[in-house]
Amino acid sequence: MLLQPVDAIFPVLPPSRAWIVGGSGIAASSPLSGLVDRRIYEHPVLKFDRGRRVRIIFEGREIPAYENETIAAALYAAGIVHFNYSGHLKRPRGPFCMIGKCSQCMMRVNGIPHVRTCITLVEDGMIVEREDVHDAELPTPTKKMKVEYVTKDYDIVVIGAGPAGLSAAMQAAKLGAKVAVLDQNPFLGGQLIKQTHKFFGTKDSYAGTRGVEIAKMLVDEIKDYENVDIYPSAQAIGYYRREGVLVAFQSRRLAEYRVLKLRGKRYVVATGAMERSLVFPGNDLPGVMGAGAAQTLMNVFGIRPADEVLIIGAGNVGVIIAYQAAQAGIKVKAVIDILPKTAAYLVHASKIRRMGIPVLMRHTIREAYGKGKVEGAVIYEVDEKFRPVPGSEKDLAVDGVWMAVGLTPSVELLELMGAKIKFVRELGGYVPLRTQYLETTLDGVYVAGDATGIEEASTAMMEGKIAGISAAFSLGYKADWAEKERAHAMKWLDEFRSSPHYARIKEGIQKVLIQK
């Protein structure tokens, strides 16, 4: 059962009406001609269902938006990249992660300070202002705030509706458990909803299917379960032993909250990961962002975040996003990586080489510069000891610097709950200790997906199955098919991780595997 208007759930759908107006820039027939409009109206893979047209007021100016866009997306579409001023240095800042984690997109909306605009959908007439994040003025809500408290009991509460969370919820629901699944983003499917490349692997890991389609399949299937409640736009803000997970469930209207105390007999934490950043002068300029953030703007909302970009990191994510940027009509000036050899799959790497995108290995960034937003970046070459090669500096005029330098697991909620966490370099950062069935040191609290360590969407789905089935089993739900499904998922993961490419991950997992 879906507890939000269905139209808000999934933005990337087959076109419900003719949206494509030709040309990659602003079409003459576009309803927005005469204004800066960075929306993509023709894309080789995606069609964007933006929904009804509305308007928001940004610092006195009226800006067109669409109801399936977040505030951050609508602003980017209008070419606005500076969202707030930083705490002490009062530097202009803009979003870094676009998925509600980095807190750099906060603005004053309808008089409410610190609204994370990247996960808040627009409303007609919304008043959006830049704020000074440390010296915010008193809240002056333009509408009366409505807050309602609701306590609900479930067998299993799943936090995170990405590939891991949805798979966990689905398996538990199939076994008959009463399940709640929540996500702070307005759209379900986690990061699958921006992945337009076809997956590798085997048939049972959706090989040959695009991430966006997998997300849609998962959401379509789970929506029909009567024993599953789905909460998008629901932020897990706390955990209390007696009350359970405290969730701020934002309705489509900004000032309306339902505060849910979701008490689960079991919990599955599938909170995913966050993009890493690099430290260099100018790394906080608006326009410098995670490559995944840029991907969200391009592939979820159909917006060109920049015209010319530098991508740092030539691993799979870097080269895939370089390719997708080119598809979106963006000029990729260079993809650079400090390593001598790309870690990307050959298929992806050669694809962008064929397109003529320069891939510069043994290169890194010196600085990004610009006034109020990034206007250029200086890169340089390094030798085999990572020392700068004299005279190798290149100055690139770019209005976007995207970092694809890896991810780090999001385990804040698990830490808050009291699960034991350990730093494991091979898994990308701090990860919870867990059993082979993915139960953490806390009885009844399971973990799945990137929160267990950085891997892939396919492994996240397998882990989700294991965690969901194990949680349901521990409550007494039983079925032969589920025993088989879980054994299969464990075998699949074991085989996947046995390839030399993933030997490190296997090693890392050994460091956090516990017996109960």
Binding site: S86, G87, H88, L89, R91, R93, F96, G100, K101, C102, S103, Q104, M106, I112, H114, R116, V133, P139, M145, V147, E148, Y149, V150, T151, K152, Q235, A236, I237, G238, Y240, L246, A248, Y257, R258, V259, M274, R276, S277, V279, F280, P281, G282, N283, D284, L285, R366, E367, Y369, V378, E393, D395, T408, S410, E412, E415, L416, I421, F423, G429, Y430
Partner: protein
Amino acid sequence: MSSETHRFEHPAIVCRCMDVTQEEMIQAFNAMVKFLGSFDADTYRRMSGAVTGFCQGRGCLQHLQRILSGELRKIGVQLDPDKLVPKRRPPLQPVPFAVFARLEEGGEQ
């Protein structure tokens, strides 16, 4: 414009929420070691401000670890990364006060 002219015009920010630069992180470390004679993760957090902002360290913890392990190595100490994790506190996400302030129950069930 040559790259020389605008080099380091901008700071290299480690913690975006609290505006802590890489330089300041190292300065805070040195000040603490001088003052305390030892390293303590909690004191360091208070002195540097890192990990204490809106995002509660989601963005800077990895950098903090890299910088600190480098600095500690210089004085012959091995950093235990597990000691660096801050105590998380609710609310994990910024929400209006009203979300906590109104306590009557209502709605479904």
